[in-house]
């Protein structure tokens, strides 16, 4: 058996855990909650094993020593590692705060991120490192970036939930903001799911998917009817989420999730994520670039987007200090910050080009 079998098992576990957590939210039976936690832990253990095995496989092929064989060299491996960090963070929160209800919000992100690997058809092959990537700084850089990304993902979820709780009327801007963001996430993932079903056979590389096939099964369909229908469904879905979004608030309230807890979690994950991102994402990245290319900063798109992300979170930290900015506005900044993370991580590789584009294979 190789690592991919275990990766597959952990994906299934996270999807089952997602179902269990949502059932738990709906029925509020402790037994179901325990089952959900057990499945998540099992998935996490399986995934940890899979990571270890892949490391070993790469070590055998790569002929470069253990450190250089860390499974963090391409988009696929980094996405898997991101999910691993996310689940770890979630489990820590669950045990620390003795609250299972976040599981229903985090496990879908994990399951969908893993499913996205298949949707995008990105290469899972182990490839030897090209010379520029043979650096321990790079390893530390990638490792820490993804830990930070996972923490930012948590702050995104808690920030969004905070907005759910702290908005009253469906006409106020905060409410419209979070329903739009939630709709965008749901619609994008749904549309990519459709792409997956339709184009799985045709698609070969992530670039090809994103540039050629993304949304081809829905919004960008050759058939005008399908495209129009997709837009119709998207608008309808957005409307439904907007109209009935209050339900989310009821669910959260039923689980004793308070805005104060959410605000604290958002701040905590950014307060840890920000220094980790600064050191790993920016500083180690700069050191690596300095050694590899002879320039610590070149303003290439990936670097620039990392800086933009960093500014977003600096914005978050400072906006908390400004009068009249507590609460909702600050939470909205945390939510937007994660959109910048997403673009830094996926958008730059897939949509923009630059020095880093070879990393996308």
């Amino acid at each position: 058996m190789d690592s991919s079998v275990f990766f597959g098992l952990s994906t299934i576990a996270y999807i089952l855990a997602m179902i269990a957590y949502i059932t738990y939210l709906a029925f509020r039976k402790t037994q179901i909650g325990i089952i959900a936690t057990t499945i998540t832990v099992a998935g996490f253990v399986t995934q940890t094993l899979a990571l270890g095995m892949r490391w070993k496989e790469f070590y055998d092929i790569g002929q470069m020593g253990w450190l250089r064989a860390a499974p963090l060299t391409n988009l696929y491996e980094s996405l898997v590692f991101f999910v691993w960090c996310l689940i770890l963070t979630y489990l820590i929160i669950e045990f620390r705060y003795k609250n299972r209800s976040f599981g229903a919000f985090i496990t879908p992100v994990a399951g969908l991120a893993l499913a996205f690997i298949d949707i995008s058809g990105m290469s899972k092959n182990i490839q030897p490192l090209v010379p520029a990537l043979q650096s321990n700084w790079l390893l530390a850089h990638v490792l820490m970036s993804f830990i930070a990304y996972a923490l930012f993902a948590v702050s995104f979820s808690t920030g969004l939930m905070y907005l759910m709780l702290r908005t009253e009327k469906i006409t106020e801007s905060g409410y419209i903001f979070w329903t739009l963001i939630l709709s965008a996430v749901v619609i994008t993932l749904g549309a990519m799911g459709l792409d997956y079903l339709t184009f799985k056979v045709l698609v070969k590389t992530p670039e090809e998917l994103i540039k050629g096939f993304l949304f081809k099964a829905s919004f960008r369909s050759d058939s005008v009817a399908v495209a129009l229908l997709s837009w119709g469904i998207a608008i309808g879905l957005t409307f439904l989420i907007w109209r009935y979004g209050v339900i989310f608030k009821k669910i959260l309230t039923a689980f004793n999730i308070t805005p104060e807890l959410l605000d604290e979690l958002t701040y905590k994950s950014i307060a840890i994520g920000f220094p980790v991102f600064t050191l790993g994402g920016l500083i180690f990245g700069a050191i690596w670039a300095d050694q590899a290319w002879g320039k610590y900063w070149t303003w290439d798109p990936k670097e620039t987007w990392s800086l933009i992300t960093w500014f977003f979170y600096a914005f978050y930290l400072h906006s908390r200090l400004m009068r009249g900015w507590k609460g909702r506005k600050v939470a909205a900044v945390a939510v937007l910050g994660f959109l910048a993370v997403l673009f830094t991580y996926l958008g730059v590789n897939l949509l923009l080009s630059g020095l880093h584009s070879y990393g996308a294979q």
Binding site: Q134, W293, F311
Partner: protein
Amino acid sequence: MLLENKENKTLVDKIWDFFASVKLAIIIFSAISLTSVIGTILEQNAEPEKNIKLLMKLFGVSQQTAISIFDILDSMHFMDMYHSWWFVTLLLLFGANLIICSIDRLPRILKIVNEKIRPLPSEHIEKMSIKKEISLKGKASGVRESVLDAMKGIGFKPAEHADEKGLQFYAEKGNFTRLGVYLTHLSILVILAGAIIGIFFGFNAFLNLPEGATSSVAYQDRGTEVPLGFDIRCDNFEVDYYDRTDMPKAYRSWLTVFKDGKEVMKKSIVVNDPLKYEGITFYQSSYGMVPNSEGSGIIILKMVSKDGKSEQINAKVGESFTIPGTAVQGKITDFSPALSIDESGKSFTYGEMMTNPAIYIEFTEAANKKFSGWLLKRYPQTWNLPDGNRVEFLDYWGVEYTGMQVRRDPGVFFVYLGCIIMSVGLYITFFMSHKRIWINITEDKNTAKVLIGATANKNRAAFERKVEKLIGLLNTAKKGGK
């Protein structure tokens, strides 16, 4: 706040306040981010055609319109925006904002840092964010020792104060951590300073050095020569491949540095491991074939005869050699930089770079044809001849050049220094806090009442757990003491 009279402020005050505000910081964050986004979409320092095509695609406009948009953007320096006057101005504004904001607040923070903790009346302690109360059996004087020990047990060195109401211990830790934010802000200034020093006192150049060649200059973008102050020679350049593939594993150049004609340094560089001499750094960045050099390179062979005699020679295509101690002669008749064999067994050259160099040798013994075939540099098994002799194809030398980035940047030191300061500053800011604790002991009918009040400017929950640990220590001390 309301008493503050805005009318009375001078213009200087107003400007000062403007620069000291967090609001300006947020405006600058947004401005730098938004403009930077444009710089990641438009390709920087590219040929105009590329960006005109991009604009046509982006806006779906005709070439004519795209050119006009391009001209407008170009006149605003968007095609090299990170070096434009307005972007640099933004960065400087950012720095000014940081400096003035820090000067504005530092005195107040320093006062808090230097302020010694004082005993407080119990009404104050009652109102603290962390407040605990316990009763212990015994007289206040009996509890005194255990409270002292418990406070030391969680890392505080308490001072003592006694008055008619009772006994108070108080202690604080980490006042200096309030300066962490300022360290973080300072580090940004240090990094900006490093970047500016680099721009004014450094250079970025490149050097393509053929194997065997020596240079005392590097070249900048428009061909301007930059004197190095010493000579550098490329002794050899090699590409290593992953086993049996054409996937490069390492690019390596062997370099020698000469100062005033004397050899002072020898080092082989690879990507990620540069050579540094007198503040100038040479980075492996590319390679290629010297133009019109095909076939003129020097073939380095090592011949090993059946009975172990060996000899190393340099030869060229067309030349012959004899394997030592035998009558076997070889004549090099052909060279291929990248040899491959097709399905029918015919050999062909599949590339111009030296991916898989090979030489064709015809062997004769006493004027009789013996055998002939290709020897591949990367495949030692092709070096063994059918008669037991061996010809090792060590190198094909003198036709490749190594491409190096040559940089001098005295600012890098400050950039790295800033990075270290920033890491320390952020650690202090987010993972440490200024903690204060007061413990009041009063006596009430043979029980000692212990009132604990504590504050932390950050990570309150963690400090609360510490205080609970202290209570645990107190309780066990009391039990053990009985």
